[in-house]
Subunit: 72 residues, 2 copies
């Protein structure tokens, strides 16, 4: 997955950290959060795809995401 590292950028992660109360955020912290978030999104996605296929659909729908999020 060549784009794995860049799908979620560090800048919005730094912004979320500031919304959560951070005064300052190191660049490596923002990058680390982006990686954590990407992995989480991928895990939820795998479940959502599984649920869509189980329902006989080729399209992942909102209900698949809603079900997948409950697994986490």
């Amino acid at each position: 997955m060549p784009r794995k590292r860049s799908i979620i950028a560090a800048a919005p992660m730094a912004e979320i950290l500031k919304q959560a109360g951070a005064e300052r955020v190191s660049e490596k912290a923002a990058q680390a959060l982006a990686a954590v978030v990407k992995n989480f999104a991928f895990e939820v996605s795998k479940d959502a795809v599984k649920f869509a296929k189980h329902a006989g659909r080729k399209t992942v729908k909102r209900e698949d995401i809603d079900l997948a999020r409950k697994e986490f």
Copy 2:
């Protein structure tokens, strides 16, 4: 938090879903995943900020993210 909904866009979420095996992704599914991911990032961030403050720092560092991710 006026930018809450737009910090993580739907397009990269659709891409992650396709990396996870989705053939097609509805727009609402991508938006729902973005919201789930944003909430997750915010929860991890709150813990990371807490750990940074506990360590007497104003800057959130990578080690705070690493510790926070283990809570989830």
